[in-house]
Symmetry: C2
Subunit: 660 residues, 2 copies
């Protein structure tokens, strides 16, 4: 039996179930005309951004397709295009559902927390199921297509991964710059200069801000995990075929692990139900835990059937365990219940400076445990089953993408639902429901970002292993005692630093553009502050769209261009060093930024609950400064590091055949 066909089937179930959830969500009521007007404005803004982003990307994709086709043959060109298209489709459909689920969540909130949770989670699940389904389908489908053509070399799959990668780095950067440019810019004028609350309909930037959550946390995250999934599956298959040639089981196992994860994720969604204690986060975790347990249970007989030893089962189990441990670690550093956030809030009480110093220290310290977990998992899985064992651990971690992205994409929906409720003056009890959902959305966003960077790290290590295996015939050792490896290592280590700096600066520039526009509207449109005339939301959306698309190009090209230049000028050895350098500092920069940013955010929320004088107190102002710094950390630069690490590695793997 051809297991790839089976995987295609599992992927189809995932996509089909996602489409079913869309249909179900669309049937729900959409509320008053005022609410609809806002939801439509968000949805139009999001669509306008994605359309323009895809136009830019389309142009770049066509050029790269042509280059690949010419240099490496038609299969590479086609595979690249398939990867890019599937990623784009998953992001687009997911986000379009999210911007429709938001208003339905706000409306369902009238019927209580359980109803609103169910709508918001179903909306998020669409993105999760489409990402996992299309990712698995694209790998299995391309593999079958190659088989059908009688091509036994599976390397064109690398081009498939590169297609996903390219979309991913642009989507993360573009979405991240958009969301934080809009957020920071809108708040600077609205909250600080005009003294009006967040999500106030009088603020001309408010729609852009609400759009931002969708393009960043939904479309951006979708593209990121689509890519991680595809490159991990591809790298696992390639590693399997290189280290154990001719063994079909080794080639098919990653696809089967993916299939198990998808089915487990779908079943897991049914476990997301509010318990008697009415706590939302445990409800979401129930779904994740169910998916983990199911995956682990199903993995056992399948490993037994395919292999004589259970070592690959243990490696797979390790990937699932890493997922759980990463969630626990991220929660510890970003939840208001534990020491780190409370210490940070206390530091805010002595001023802006100490708030930042404590947050930076927290962000740096928070890297240790995740990195040790990744290192430990690598070592154990390697000892279990060699490089292929590491690949299986990574694949099993990624197989949970469906449920994890569902939990993440829940965030922007609840955020928007809260915004719509706020802007349309909903009654207190409705606002309470949307607010509590929104608060949880912040935690889920932090937790899934921890998962995303850890899985990106593991995936990149697997890609790096594939790169070294690919060059095995040249007997390169990538020894640290070789100066060219060290030079490569240093250049690679510099990449996340420069990339992160450019991303942070881009947010600053986009925010500046928003500030200018919002100030202009407050000044020239009479009666805005009195609520007598409507601001021109569309203008602000348009400006931030343009700024984000302009600013994303330079940093996005870094991880594509630098490995090519280093590879061809300094050679394969230096490029190997570069890859490991990028993975190393990338992990630290990414982890510290995403955790640190979430920590500042929640320290602010902790103070807003009434500690250290609550809202408006000096401690709160210092915490707001921390949050402002945390914004580009956690939503732009930090998460954009993930695709950046992987793009660097996949480009290297792609050009490995040409290097000496």
């Amino acid at each position: 039996m051809n297991y790839a066909v089976l995987s295609l089937l599992a992927a189809a179930v995932s996509v089909g179930y996602g489409l079913y959830l869309i249909a179900k969500t669309m049937k729900l009521p959409t509320g008053t005309p005022t609410q609809n007007a806002i939801a439509d404005a968000i949805s139009e803004g999001a669509k306008a951004f994605l359309t323009r982003e895809y136009q830019t990307l389309g142009l770049i994709a066509v050029v790269i397709t042509a280059l690949l086709w010419y240099a490496m043959g038609s299969t590479y060109g086609i595979a690249f295009l398939v990867g890019a298209l599937c990623s784009a489709v998953a992001g687009a459909i997911g986000m379009n559902t999210a911007v429709r689920a938001n208003i339905r969540t706000a409306v369902a909130a009238k019927h209580g927390l359980a109803a609103a949770l169910s709508v918001a989670f179903a909306g998020g699940a669409v993105t999760g199921l489409l990402v996992a389904g299309l990712a698995l389908a694209s790998v299995a489908g391309t593999y079958l297509w190659l088989q059908g053509q009688g091509i036994t070399d599976i390397r064109p799959l690398i081009a498939l991964g590169f297609g996903g990668s390219l979309i991913s780095v642009f989507a993360r950067l573009g979405g991240g710059i958009y969301t934080k440019g809009a957020d920071v810019g809108t708040d600077l004028v609205g909250k600080i200069e005009q003294g009006i609350p967040e999500d106030d309909p009088r603020n001309p930037g408010v729609i852009a801000d609400l759009v931002g959550d969708n393009v960043g946390d939904d479309a951006g995250m979708a593209a990121d995990l689509f890519e991680t999934y595809v490159v991990t599956a591809v790298a696992a298959m390639i590693l399997g075929s290189l280290t154990l040639p001719g063994n079909t089981a080794v080639l098919m196992f990653p696809l089967l692990v993916g299939s198990i994860g998808i089915v487990a994720s779908i079943v897991g969604t049914y476990f997301v139900k509010l318990g008697s204690n009415k706590k939302i986060m445990p409800a979401l975790y129930k779904g994740l835990i169910a998916a983990c347990v199911l995956s682990a249970v199903a993995l056992f007989p399948i490993t037994q059937a395919l292999f004589s030893s259970l070592n690959l089962f243990w490696a797979g189990l390790l990937g699932i365990i890493v997922t759980g441990v990463m969630v626990v670690i991220t929660e510890y550093f970003t939840s208001k219940q534990y020491g780190p956030i409370r210490g940070l809030a206390a530091a805010a009480n002595t001023g802006h400076g100490t708030s930042i110093i404590a947050g930076l220290a927290l962000s740096m310290k928070s890297t240790l445990m995740p990195v040790l977990v990744i290192a430990g998992a690598t070592l154990v899985s390697y000892n279990l089953a060699g490089l292929y064992g590491v690949a299986v651990a990574a694949m099993s971690m990624l197989s949970l993408t469906g449920i994890v992205v569902a939990i993440d994409a829940f965030g922007p929906i609840t955020d928007n639902a809260g915004g719509i409720a706020e802007m349309t003056n909903q009654p207190e009890d409705v606002r309470k429901v949307t607010d509590s959902l929104d608060a949880v959305g912040n935690t889920t966003k932090a937790v899934t970002k921890g998962y995303a960077i850890a899985s990106a790290g593991l995936a990149a290590l697997v890609l790096f292993a594939s790169y070294t295996q690919e060059l095995r015939s040249q007997a390169l050792t990538f020894a640290l005692s070789d100066p060219s490896v060290v030079v490569g290592l240093f250049i690679g280590a510099a990449l996340p630093y420069v990339f992160g700096a450019l991303a942070m600066e881009a947010v600053g520039k986009a925010a500046q553009a928003v500030v200018v526009e919002v100030r202009r509207q407050f000044k020239t449109i009479k009666g805005i502050m009195e609520g007598k005339s409507k601001p021109e939301y569309g203008k602000a959306v348009d400006i931030v769209t343009r700024a984000a698309l302009k600013e994303m190009v330079l940093p996005a090209l870094l991880p594509v261009g630098v490995p090519i230049i280093v590879g061809f000028i300094l050679g394969a050895q230096a490029l190997g060093g570069l890859l490991m350098g990028t993975i190393t500092t990338g992990l630290f920069v990414g982890l510290s930024m995403t955790t640190g940013g979430a920590a500042w955010d929640n320290a602010k929320k902790y103070i807003e609950e009434g500690h250290y004088g609550g809202k408006g107190s000096p401690a709160h102002q210092a915490a707001v400064t921390g949050d402002t710094v945390g914004d580009p950390y956690k939503d732009t630069a930090g998460p954009a590091i993930n695709p950046m690490i992987k793009v660097t590695n996949i480009v290297a793997l792609l050009i490995a055949g040409f290097l000496r």
Copy 2:
């Protein structure tokens, strides 16, 4: 002729000239009783701190000496003790001179800029000459002692380096925590809560703050560069003896390079003279340039006499060029004249948050060029003369320590002179002189920190090379495709992050202790604010001393303990990975922190010159927040990374013989 004897002679000249400068400085007038009272308080505080620090260190040193003696023999134990003692002596004498030169500078300021500059620079030169002289003397002397004992194995020199290393990491941390704990704590209560200016005699923490500059920038920097000098010379000699065994020229060349640098530094001090344009920085640079040119010129005939090829001359020249390039790069990112600082000041104009975001982006971006310079120098010098070539480049860079430390130690003297002038209400024209000297002191501190971290990076690479050579018989490859190397790399990369976080938190804790004490004095001692009663300066000094010494221990033990644990549990391969991981992220964390911190400091000064509303404006407040964050960045965590990188490597080199 024995070149080691010649080096000992050069070292003696340096120390002798330093002592002559002390005698000359001591003869200068010391001003009014009021001024003397302040200067005495500073000097007592500094001495009290150093005494207590050395007591703690003495205890640790005795334990380690005993351990080394027992495990590796008496020569190791003795060499370790010599290294520790010489470093301590250089720091102590240098700092004791600085705390006497400060008042003499303030008094000389009455006679104009040229007079004050000459006193301050002579005071700083004492530290520089003693550091370089004692470092060279300890290496050459220990080498001669080993020869005298008939011991041909030069490995006990590693213990000498370790002695310097241990003092260095404690001195950098203890000094750094002290200086910024006192600075931040004193400012928080004085400037912000009580609204009195900096260096106001009514502030109970003001003496502690002035003491801090000496223990941080003088004693700390002295220990740091003493260590870098010794470990580089030792590693170069060991690399020479391992890669080209039996070649005496190779063994002696590093000592000769050091001798040249020392003589060139002494001559260089004579070129530090105010030009007709009355600009201070160019006067200092003249000294540096003279020393560089002289070194380069003298290097040529000596290389020609010892070796058949000139390749080692080019490698040495490269080290001198790296020194110059690092100065230029650091100046670009931290001088008020160029784009980066002006952009940072503009960002402060839109608030606290944007001030921090822009500063963080700047700090991250500023790492690229220095790292490329270090990588390039490594590659070129390796191609010129192998690993030994890299060592010679590093040694030639370090040979300029004398003049570089002189320029750096000038900083705390001028800072203190300014403080004394301020506290004793000196006339406008005196204050103008001390202020302009103080402003330059800020730049020199930034520039020499760039030199310190770059030379630490090169030194660490040379140490790493010695480690790999030492394990050569085991035919280890330290290949990046080996998971245990990767795991080591990750653990090593985590070290600077955790270390930096602990250092930043330590500053917070020390500052908190100062805040409590200063608040107590303002509250309980009647008439402080009216200037009727004197604050208890000594109490504040005592409290920050205790806090700094307590907080320095844990982070300082990290780079000693972790390599031992990893080496014996995960093995020599993983330890190799760890070393490179620590060097890599250490360079980035160190560079970004020292440059970023100086940038915030100078952006604040730029605004204080009247831009964006000048002092007291919202832009200024935001810049002050940036400066507060920059303080522990540039004066505690950042510079402490230097010794931390080297300690890790020297510990590994020391235990290499026991590893498998």
